[in-house]
């Protein structure tokens, strides 16, 4: 037996399969399975999901919201570099922009599966109900996706293999970089809008008392501001560990880490008062929704994933310089922030739907329902995740998206003149 094992290892060794190839291979397989699941959704429709008329929004919406929240690093770091003038963060902003571009494309993939009529996705662009929060979110996401494509264009234009093959196009793509400050302003505006109003999409629904709170938008943007840079820094650190070609300036990443720690404090502060205020007096639906979180089926997610691991532990690690300086510990903290925000989106989405407020005249009572995603929902979501991981892996390898030694050659921190004649 041992000899067979040895021979097998020998065969493997002769092929010289690199860890990179194994990683890409695994992601590729998950991606293929996900594509198959996604096709099944398109062919058979949403009846093969566990979504129903009581819980019409499930795992895909969580994917969608989480991807967008975790992409928030792009607008924040671009604003820091091009608006606040923190030029040294420019390489981190470059990573964040790429992660953001992939994140928003993941959100769009999850959405196209989630809507009942994917063939009519373009209706959301041409038919407007400007009163709808969802309309505003849709417009912002599409426009911001365009901004991210422009912001990421110089990354492609700067890649050596691309420059060698298409030097002229590469040059054109790189010139987009001179618009970085303008794009940063537009991106900041669009992101502040939709990152908050994704929370408001829940917050404006009077029919769902646990959602119907003005703080929803504040909590969504605060958690996104913590989680977005967390993912960017985490990816940078992982890339630097697994590849000798990736060079990072750890002091920069540490600085962003401490910023994340403070944002988490602010988020937890809002979160505390928001939840605490709801514990006073009985409100039908709201009280039950809160109980679902604090001692119901979502209690583990809420206390452990969202509050303790998602906020308290990272706050301690990221705000204590000695702990933060330890890279492994910092990576754990950043990963926990990511897990925490995903758990927050999942719990928020479910708390409002698992509690069904009746409309019977005698008394307003709350009934409970359940939701567990179906295999096809899980596999298709895994496919979207694998796509994201694959895209970022390839970006790190072939587009140098994590490289703190390079600086864009022609950084104009001052907004470029909009071709107006000088006044004198």
């Amino acid at each position: 037996m041992a000899s067979i094992g040895a021979r097998f290892r020998g065969v493997l060794g002769s092929f010289r399969i690199s860890p990179f190839a194994v990683w890409v291979g695994i992601l590729g397989v998950i991606l293929l399975v996900g594509v198959a699941a996604g096709l099944m959704v398109f062919i058979k429709g949403l009846s093969i999901t566990n979504l129903n008329d009581l819980v019409p929004w499930g795992l895909w919406i969580t994917m969608d919201l989480s991807s967008i929240a975790l992409s928030a690093g792009a607008f924040l770091l671009c604003a820091a570099v091009y608006l606040l003038g923190l030029k040294q963060l420019q390489p981190v902003a470059r990573t964040a922009t790429f992660v953001g571009l992939i994140g928003y494309s993941m959100a769009l993939l999850a959405l196209i599966m989630d809507i009942g009529r994917p063939d009519r996705f373009w209706h959301s662009i041409i038919f407007w109900n400007t009163h709808s929060v969802m309309w505003e979110v849709t417009m912002c996401i599409l426009l911001y996706f365009a901004v991210l494509i422009l912001e990421a264009a110089p990354i492609l234009g700067g890649a050596a293999w691309f420059r060698n093959r298409w030097p002229k196009l590469a040059g054109q793509l790189q010139t987009v970089h001179q618009w970085a400050p303008v794009l940063a302003i537009v991106g900041l505006f669009l992101s502040l809008l939709h990152q908050s109003s994704l929370g408001a999409a829940y917050g404006v629904l009077k029919a769902r008392p646990i959602w119907y709170r003005p703080d929803m938008s504040v909590l969504f943007i605060a958690s996104a501001i913590a989680a977005g840079p967390s993912l960017t820094v985490l990816i940078s650190m992982i890339a630097a560990r697994v590849s000798r070609k990736v060079h990072v300036d750890d002091r920069l990443l540490e600085r962003v880490g401490s910023f994340i720690g403070w944002v988490l404090v602010v988020y937890l502060y809002f979160r505390f008062w928001d939840a605490f205020a709801m514990t006073y007096t009985y409100t039908p639906g709201r009280t039950e929704g809160l109980q679902l979180l604090t001692r119901g089926p979502l209690a583990f997610n809420f206390w452990v994933l969202e509050i303790v691991l998602g906020a308290l532990v990272p706050i301690i690690i990221l705000l204590r310089p000695k702990l933060r300086a330890r890279q492994a510990l910092r990576m754990v903290a950043l990963a926990l922030v990511v897990v925490g925000v995903v758990a927050y989106r999942w719990d928020t989405n479910l708390a409002g739907q698992l509690t069904v407020v009746t409309y019977l005249p005698s008394e307003i009572i709350t009934r409970y329902t359940t939701y567990v995603p179906s295999p096809v929902e899980i596999l298709s979501s895994a496919g979207v995740l694998a796509y994201g991981a694959l895209a970022i892996t390839l970006g790190v390898r072939y587009l140098n998206v994590v490289d703190h030694r390079t600086r864009e050659t022609d950084i104009h921190v001052v907004a470029p003149a909009v071709a107006l004649p000088a006044s004198d």
Partner: protein, 254 residues
């Protein structure tokens, strides 16, 4: 001269601001999705008398036939609401056709809209199937087409003939107050609520006459008269949605 340049720049700025302001105003004006466009002399409403309703469910069946509804979906559910004097009280629940419809306010593409006569309509050809309306409705009045409804409708022909097109897979559907009967009836000079051909199928089908339909704007209409004469309530009035469906409650015998 610098003055000329500043002037031009100032003009451009002013023009841009003006254009933005006009666009903004247009957007704000269009933003009142909960308000109907145009006006109508009619304001359709329904009165359901819980003292009479026996919970037989014939309204649901007639609705399914006339609107060609999937047997797994009820536009008009009949719910057990409690007990009075040892007798079960039922609550039939169509779409409330709210004065301030949360569904129409949240629909990103405007597929759900408010007609001037008060009916909340669905444009099934516009809907993208995001289900925000379903999440927003406090009355559970909407049902999503998780799969296509194919094959024969078991309610047809016993309970009536389909009058509208079947909805495709992937869009939510709901009660429309049988707008097709109202619109066709008005065109023929009939009176919705009086002439059966112009009245919602559930009202016509009710064997005990527990449902009334008519124009709430007309003080002499049967619905206005019924409401003037008896105590009534609407579902979840605390939400401020302003339902157009009124209930006459079952009460203890004095």
């Amino acid at each position: 001269m610098s003055e000329d340049t500043i002037g031009r720049r100032g003009f451009l700025k002013a023009a841009a601001t003006g254009a933005l302001a006009i666009a903004g105003l247009k957007v704000v004006r269009a933003a009142r999705a909960s308000e109907p466009e145009g006006s109508s002399p009619n304001s359709w409403g329904m009165v359901i008398d819980q003292r009479l309703c026996t919970g037989c469910g014939q309204c649901t069946l007639a609705c399914r036939a006339h609107n060609d509804v999937n047997p797994e979906i009820s536009w008009n559910r009949v719910i057990v609401a409690g007990e009075v004097d040892g007798k079960t009280v039922y609550l039939p629940r169509p779409c409330m056709h709210c004065e301030k419809p949360p569904c129409a306010e949240v629909c990103p593409v405007g597929a759900t809209y408010h007609r001037p006569d008060g009916i909340i309509m669905m444009d099934y050809d516009k809907c993208i199937g995001c289900r925000y309306c379903e999440v927003a409705c406090p009355y559970g009045a909407r049902a999503f087409n998780w799969e296509a409804f194919t094959g024969p409708n078991p309610a047809v022909p016993e309970w009536g003939q389909p009058e509208v097109a079947r909805r495709p897979r992937g869009v939510p559907e709901k009660c429309s107050f049988c707008y097709q009967r109202i619109d066709r009836g008005l065109g023929l000079g009939l009176h919705p609520g009086i002439d059966p051909e112009a009245t919602p199928a559930c009202v016509v089908a009710c064997p005990v006459g527990a449902r009334l339909f008519g124009n709430l704007n007309d003080p002499d209409s049967n619905v206005s008269q019924a409401l003037a004469g008896s105590p009534h309530y609407r579902l979840r009035e605390d939400l401020g949605t302003g339902p157009r469906v009124y209930y006459l409650p079952a009460r203890k015998e004095a």
